[in-house]
Symmetry: C2
Subunit: 231 residues, 2 copies
DNA sequence: TTCTTCATGTAATTAGTTACATGATTGA
DNA sequence: TCAATCATGTAACTAATTACATGAAGAA
């Protein structure tokens, strides 16, 4: 009941993961809000997608908490704000990183439509799967560009290459997973009758999925499933 | 500017994908709100996660639009509501299924923390990866149970087995993807110095990811990337 | 008979998005 | 010099979550 806001005694709205996402960016360097918005699109949106306008709210919160400082420059007659992290901000970031976090969220209206495919026709489902692959392809093209930029050294933040390699691997694996599935699913759906509600069971696929899940469960239990060593 | 609400002339708040998610459930059978809530947890939450309370709002919208009917029973002195889809509702569902939808959303505070690992220590990152695997394992256990129930015929909605097999495959593949990645990433991070900001580049991994993305792009272009046949 | 869990909702709050507005810069 | 795009924000709205409240049923 008490002890909930030890480090933010009284002021300002509470800090959310979105706040820390911005704080994490500020930990790299000072940014203008516009630059922050670009980083949101290019990087954060892949693992923590939020609307651009957050870029104008969250840093204000950070300032109220003393985790960042805002300095105002001008471009012509317009003011522009540059944010930089404070030492207190770095400490808060470190504390956040030490806390545990919620599990991932996956949401997809397209997959939802496949799930309810029996309310429509077979072609609807095929088109939905096609759209999904097209979407994956768009993202893939970006990944290819970014990857090449890192390899030829033209990418910004060369010092973050190790981190980006690790996270980038996951993001591309997820795309690969979606693409492979959508391709496979299209093949399956093509064999279906026109009303997906009457599609025949595919016992073999079901068994294959179950085996995959069982094997994964064993891997985890077998590996001890113990947390990393405590100091 | 006009023609935006052809089929819902004037009343009631606009239908969102969440409304159609519920409508999709109603297309299977009539449900009480409590049963709908259970279905949300068990199935929808994997591809369209929403809070329980939506189950009490969205069906009301559907009724106002004439897509569902509510009948009131009583349990003791308490009223209970049962919702059923109407013919108009089925048509609306079919129309929704024929429309295109947004791409998937992936969001993960844990991955965000790995991305900003250089703000903390190596052990923080390892613990985060461990937590992710633990989360995956929980979900995996559910998948195993559900898969077994389908195979031994004890699962509800045996007629939906084909659909569930297809969608279930994706959901399990995503878990597999996360688990495999987190396991690999743990191995990588273990070789890092205590300050993840100074981790060395891993050129080989970067190249491998790039090759995967390039191969995927070619597969898509090579396969014609054409939409399914139009009537 | 009391405690716990199942069941059924409503209300308050908030996180997030969409829409709007407008100055600066660039290039045709 | 005009249009398009880059840049910088604010305000209104709403989808969604959290907290609350309480009756019914079953178990101890």
């Amino acid at each position: 009941m008490a002890g909930k806001d030890r480090d933010a005694p009284d002021p300002a709205p509470v800090l959310t993961p979105t706040s820390f996402a911005l704080l994490g960016l500020l930990n790299l360097q000072p940014w203008t809000t516009y630059e922050l918005a670009q980083q949101m699109d290019r990087t954060l949106s892949r693992m923590w997608p939020r609307a651009r306008s957050k870029v104008y709210e969250e840093p204000k919160k950070l300032v109220r908490h003393g985790l960042a400082r805002a300095t105002t420059e001008t471009v012509g007659r317009r003011p522009r704000t540059v944010y930089r992290i404070t030492p207190k901000g770095r400490r808060a970031l470190a504390r956040w990183l030490a806390q545990s976090a919620d599990g991932p969220v996956f949401e997809s209206e397209q997959v939802l439509k496949v799930f309810f495919a029996d309310g429509g026709g077979r072609l609807d489902t095929l088109r939905t799967l096609h759209d999904l692959r097209a979407w994956v392809h768009e993202r893939t093209m970006v990944n290819v560009e970014v990857g090449r930029a890192y390899l030829d050294g033209s990418a910004p933040f060369p010092s973050r290459i190790a981190l980006n390699t690790v996270v980038g691997r996951l993001l591309d694996d997820l795309l690969e997973c979606l693409d492979t599935w959508a391709d496979w699913a299209s093949g399956v759906v093509e064999t279906w009758p026109d009303a997906p509600g009457e599609a025949p069971a595919d016992q073999a696929s079901l068994e294959a999925t179950l085996r995959q899940a069982e094997a994964r469960a064993e891997r985890w239990l077998g590996s001890g499933s113990s947390p990393p060593a405590q100091p």
